[in-house]
Amino acid sequence: MPERLSFHIKRDSALHHLNPLTKLLLVLTLILTAFLAPFYWTPHILAVLFIPLLSMLGKVGREYFSTAIRLILPAATFLFAMQAFFQPVGEEIIFEFYFLDITRESFLFAFSNAMRIVVMVSAFTIFLLTTHPSELMSDLTRRGLPGQFAYVIISTLQILPQMQAKAQTIISAQRSRGLETEGGFFKRAGALVPLIGPLVFGSLVEVEERAIAIEARGFTSKHVKTSLHEIPDTSTDKLLRWFLTALILASIGLRIWLS
């Protein structure tokens, strides 16, 4: 069983002390600015300068860079290659490879798009690294998000790894009964039937029992819910949220005005 199910890393940093909603708004601002700002270099500057600084501000630099190298950069590179080769724009060919070629325009287009993706994924990564999921949900619930809705989101996040573990046990049980799970497509597809049945049945029982268990602990109680974690929401938070909202409006405004 996995010991840690969230990305959250407990540290004492300025980012950790921000209200979850403020951080969510910061993520949104970064994404919108990267996609909407009319200056070509905006996403690049955000990706190579601002994001790393932000991760260090949150004292999660090491974790962020390791994720970036293992996950974000390879994905962005792939995306860049796809778009650079297959975007049929421009005439000035700068690179040729058999029937594939890259034009100056497609290169620039693909490069900035890849950078936008880097900004988006990185912003979310830093958000997840510095925000406790229960805090986020408690805060959103406090602000009026229905409790049931919050529960569905957060329990789904947790239950997926459990489903995976369960599927693994079922596969083991059926292989022990002589089921071949290796081999050609049809063999693999045929092997799915004995796996899905127990998984679905098990999940139905699980859902019912879990509903009883949380109900027994007052889940639908009409009391106003409280929260174990104190969720910070300082005047800095409020100020920052106004500022971020202004930035978002400015990006949108600038975009409309210039187009």
Partner: protein, 264 residues
């Protein structure tokens, strides 16, 4: 068919060293119970017998097969494994199809499959349930379907993982009966269990594991009498063994018959 384990070591990808050098052999036709606290390595050990886990070092031989060279599906013809929770394996619309799944996978001809299924169903008292959907049965009977589905594979070695957990007295007796029948047929039965009284009443040999190593291994009476050593792996001796000790009986007794004989 013998089981030969030589200096078996296993470390999980998480770095947890679950087995720290286990060597033992099990002869054909033996009835072995494996006991020990949670995390002692019981499940990790038996999952090596049918290839679900591969040794990090050392080897496991089932007859003349080195398990590291055969797939789980291949090893299934020699080692049957009854998982603890029947709901993690049942998928067919009726009991008959469910029980026939294993022998069919092993590639047996229809006549042989039919005969094996019939025998497994009668052993588990499911004769009149062939057309029932397993999920319409009570959990206790689903457990019996799971047992039947492995017994029908007619493997020389059968493993049970915690067979009595969640079962009532009647079903525990049924499961003990199935194990006794398998013994008569000369099968090797290996059971992981927490139920030490069940272990005393149905198994001739007991292996106690602790922290990935063999703590005790021998005839049930010898092993289950070692109260102090068993305490290291949080196992209490059987109830009648403790009573016998309290009464000052000279020999270690492990079941009712022995106890009453010693009293006389």
């Amino acid at each position: 068919m013998n089981i030969e384990i030589k200096d078996l070591r296993f470390t999980y990808p998480t770095g947890l060293e679950a087995l720290k050098g286990i060597s033992l052999s099990v002869n054909a036709g033996e009835q072995v119970a494996i006991v020990g606290q949670n995390g002692a390595g019981k499940t990790t050990l038996v999952r090596h017998f049918n290839g679900l886990l591969r040794p990090s070092a050392g080897s496991v031989w089932i007859g003349d097969w080195d398990t590291s060279k055969y797939s789980v599906a291949k090893l299934a013809s020699r080692v049957g494994y009854v998982f603890q929770n029947p709901d993690e394996q049942l998928f067919s619309r009726d009991v008959l199809t469910e029980v026939a799944f294993g022998p069919k996978n092993l590639g047996y001809e229809k006549d042989k499959v039919d005969a094996l299924v019939k025998r497994a169903l009668s052993l588990t008292e499911l004769n009149d349930q062939t057309e029932t959907n397993p999920y319409d049965l009570s959990p206790t009977w689903r457990k019996m379907v799971a047992l039947a589905s492995i017994i029908a594979m007619d493997t020389p070695i059968v493993i049970f993982d915690e067979p009595t957990t969640g079962q009532d007295a009647v079903n525990v007796a049924r499961i003990a009966n199935v194990i006794a029948e398998l013994k008569k047929e000369g099968k090797t039965v290996i059971t992981i269990t927490h139920d030490i009284d069940f272990c005393a009443e149905n198994f001739e040999r007991v292996i106690a594991l602790s922290k990935g190593e063999v703590l005790l291994d021998g005839p049930a009476r010898e092993v289950l009498g070692q109260e102090e050593i068993l305490a290291q792996t949080y196992v209490d001796p059987p109830q009648l063994t403790r009573l016998g000790k309290m009464l000052g009986l000279k020999a270690t007794v492990i079941n009712q018959e022995e106890f009453l004989n010693a009293l006389k």
